[in-house]
């Protein structure tokens, strides 16, 4: 422990020496840092992220599709479930979904689809499909925000070959900053849960001969269902 305290002191003192601090500006410096951390001011927001809600939903779909995701619009929870079940069938995947305890997902009319089986908890290696909910999205680059926890365990986003993500239309923001503000409203200021995944498509690699291939390590398919 003593060694680590020394290492810390060494690095910090090297930095202070490099910055040629005399101690005179200490108050001003500390105030500047505290101010920026507390206010967290925004920079330039791209114009495309400041459009109206309809345009943003349009943008979200276009960006996700161009980045390799499948996107379905669902007017009602029944439609959403139909789209989910249909997606599995279309790709010959058994109707078994790994899912967390997310209340919005819980409230879907599962009783209308008794053949669709849900398995709760973190993903297992044999799972072929998982269903999560994105609590918010940033339309500017077709980016879904998935947050760790029992509601939507992080392993659901990466282990199974097929990842289905539900997002409510009202939760679609334009910019990353707007999405983070919504996250702050739910989880608190100056803090984040263990993992926040910004997901914009299925897994891919171009490492070999610059040829794009899906499903490098994460899901091969990302199916996004926009509800409402």
């Amino acid at each position: 422990m003593k060694a680590s305290g020394q290492a810390r002191a060494t690095v910090l003192s090297r930095i202070r020496a490099a910055l040629r601090l005399t101690g005179k500006q200490d108050g001003a410096r500390e105030a500047a840092v505290e101010d920026r951390l507390n206010r967290h001011p925004r920079g330039t927001i791209p114009a495309r992220a400041l459009a109206g809600q309809e345009a943003l939903l349009e943008l979200l779909q276009t960006m996700l599709a161009s980045q390799g995701a499948e996107v379905t619009l669902a007017a009602t929870p029944e439609d959403a479930l139909r789209a989910i079940a249909g997606g599995l069938r279309a790709h010959d995947i058994p109707p078994i979904l790994r899912v967390g305890t997310d209340p919005v997902l819980e409230a879907l009319p599962w009783e209308t689809r008794p053949s669709l089986e849900r398995r709760f908890g973190p993903a297992e290696p044999e799972d072929r499909a998982a269903l999560s909910r994105a609590q918010m999205a940033a339309a500017e680059t077709g980016t879904l925000f998935l947050v760790s926890g029992a509601d939507n365990p992080t392993t659901l986003n990466f282990l199974p070959e097929t990842h289905i993500v539900l997002i409510c239309a009202g939760d679609v923001a334009g910019s990353y900053e707007e999405a983070f503000d919504r996250l702050r409203a739910i989880y608190g200021e100056s803090t984040l849960p263990r993992t926040v995944n910004l997901i914009s498509g299925p897994s891919r690699t171009a490492d070999i001969e610059q040829t794009i291939v899906r499903g490098a390590h994460g899901p091969k398919r990302l199916h996004v269902v926009i509800l409402g």
Binding site: V11, F158, T195, T205, D207, H217
Partner: protein, 480 residues
């Protein structure tokens, strides 16, 4: 100075260049990189009208952060601890290696998975862990291929750009020994499918996951990684311990600042608007989380960064490792990354490597530039790379770095150039002589002392009069 397991040397560089120029496959691959990434970056920038504005803001964010780096590191540390994680400062590469090894041993680790991390290469982490009997599995597809080949990356974001699929198929056939012989590996898809299956086993069995960090965020105590594969995520989510190794200049103050920089990162490097996965990790799994690591450790590496902060090369600390400068550099585009002999090649490597291993060993890197300036033009953080390379050249010259012949030639030229009458007398005699030696043809097809030049091109010869002579005898007509 830092301790760095690099084999940067003049001899190595010259040999590396000769090899690269003679390698037709590599030349073809580099041409593809150039075309692909250059075209895509331009397209991405065109699609985002706010690109240049964001670039100015990103530069300002980094400059502000560097000017207050001590305070932001302290704020960051507080937040990491608050969220249940631990921070370890590492003044040198050796310190960082030892800290990571210690953590792995405390965890009883036998297998470690790794996401892509330039810093972990810089400090030679893999070899250190393996020497202690810990198996290390690189999980980025390109890094996995390099690992089974015992090869080095040739590009910081496309590490196996120098290999074709046939070579990789051979490597897989040899290294993935437990799989059936004679299985088809003739398509890129087949290779990726196999790598996915092989590495999936590593992901699931790993005791510890090690990643780098593209950004550290002081406001929340978070580390950010960007991938297209999702390997970084499986690395940091599945094992019971997650270790982040990051150099101190990766710090940014807030989530908003991270957003600004993230808008530039992928667009500059690969031309994507965003990478498939951008992940913010903060502390270990919380109570009630069904998955995620139980321990989260961040190793903050100095290794020469604080020295850069106090000197002429501070601007280099703004680098976000996007790779744009490499993609646009005509020299890198001709010789590839291996010739540089450093973890960091291309223009950014030409500035960073001498800072890490000393200009004496790394002098060829900043000298391998024509100062065309494209790197600075495309750098999202507005780093004045040619100016910094020039500073290194000045230091190199002051230390007597260039070979004797070069220094002597420059000294002779400088002697004459500072004495105008001597200079004019010499040129007055030599210029007509050179013209006559060229036999009136206007060019030299070969010159004994400029063999390397005239082997593949003619050297223009003077016409017979110096400019001053011509100007003196110019007819004074009305032409201005």
């Amino acid at each position: 100075m830092s301790d760095l397991p690099q084999d940067v040397s003049s001899e190595g560089f010259k040999q590396g260049v000769a090899r690269a120029l003679a390698d037709a496959e590599l030349q073809r691959a580099l041409l593809n990189v150039k075309r692909g990434f250059i075209v895509k970056r331009a397209a991405a920038r065109a699609k985002l009208p706010e690109f240049d504005q964001l670039r100015d803001e990103a530069r300002a964010i980094k400059d502000h952060t560097l000017a207050h780096l001590d305070l932001y590191l302290e704020a960051y540390e507080r937040k990491v601890i608050e969220s249940g994680g631990q921070v370890h400062f590492a003044p040198s590469a050796a310190d960082a290696r030892d800290i990571v090894l210690g953590l792995c041993q405390d965890a009883g680790a036998r297998l470690v998975t790794k996401g892509k991390s330039m810093v972990s290469e810089e400090i030679g982490l893999d070899a250190h862990l393996e020497a202690a009997g810990i198996e290390v599995a690189e999980t980025d597809l390109g890094d996995h291929i390099l690992q089974i080949r015992g090869d080095r990356p040739s590009h910081i974001i496309a590490p196996v750009i120098h290999l074709n699929k046939e070579e990789i198929a051979e490597d897989f056939a040899r290294a993935h020994g437990e799989l059936p012989r004679g299985r088809p590996l003739d398509t890129v898809q087949a290779l990726v499918t196999e790598a996915r299956a092989v590495l999936r086993q590593k992901f699931l069995k790993a005791d510890v996951g090690i990643t780098g960090a593209n950004l550290l965020i002081a406001e929340t105590g978070s580390s950010v990684i960007v991938t297209n594969e999702g390997n970084g995520d499986l690395t940091e989510t599945l094992p019971r311990m997650h270790i982040v190794v990051a150099s101190i200049e990766k710090m940014v103050p807030t989530l908003e600042d991270a957003c600004t920089i993230l808008r530039l990162l992928a667009r500059s490097g690969t031309g994507q608007e965003i990478t498939t996965y951008t992940t913010f990790a903060t502390g270990p799994a919380r109570d009630g989380d069904p998955d995620g690591p139980r321990q989260y450790h961040v190793v903050l590496l100095d290794n020469g960064r604080s020295e850069l902060l106090g000197g002429d090369f501070r601007d280099m600390l703004r680098c976000i490792r996007c790779g744009a400068c490499l993609n646009h550099c005509p020299v890198y585009g001709t010789i590839g990354g291996h010739a540089y002999g450093s973890v960091y090649p291309g223009p950014m490597g030409a500035v960073l490597t001498p800072a890490l291993v000393g200009i004496g060993r790394a002098r060829d890197l900043p000298n391998a530039s024509s100062f065309c300036g494209r790197c600075e033009e495309v750098c999202p953080m507005a780093i004045p790379l040619p100016a910094l390379m020039r500073k290194w050249r000045e230091r190199d010259f002051a230390q007597g770095g260039p070979p004797l012949g070069q220094r002597l030639a420059l000294k002779l030229w400088a002697f004459a150039a500072k004495r105008p009458r001597l200079y004019h007398a010499l040129t007055g005699a030599l210029v007509p002589l050179a013209a006559r030696l060229a036999g009136g043809k206007g060019r030299f097809r070969s010159l004994p002392f400029a063999h390397a030049w005239t082997e593949t091109r003619d050297l223009p010869a003077p016409e017979g009069k110096t400019f001053h002579a011509l100007y003196r005898h110019k007819p004074r007509s009305g032409t201005p």
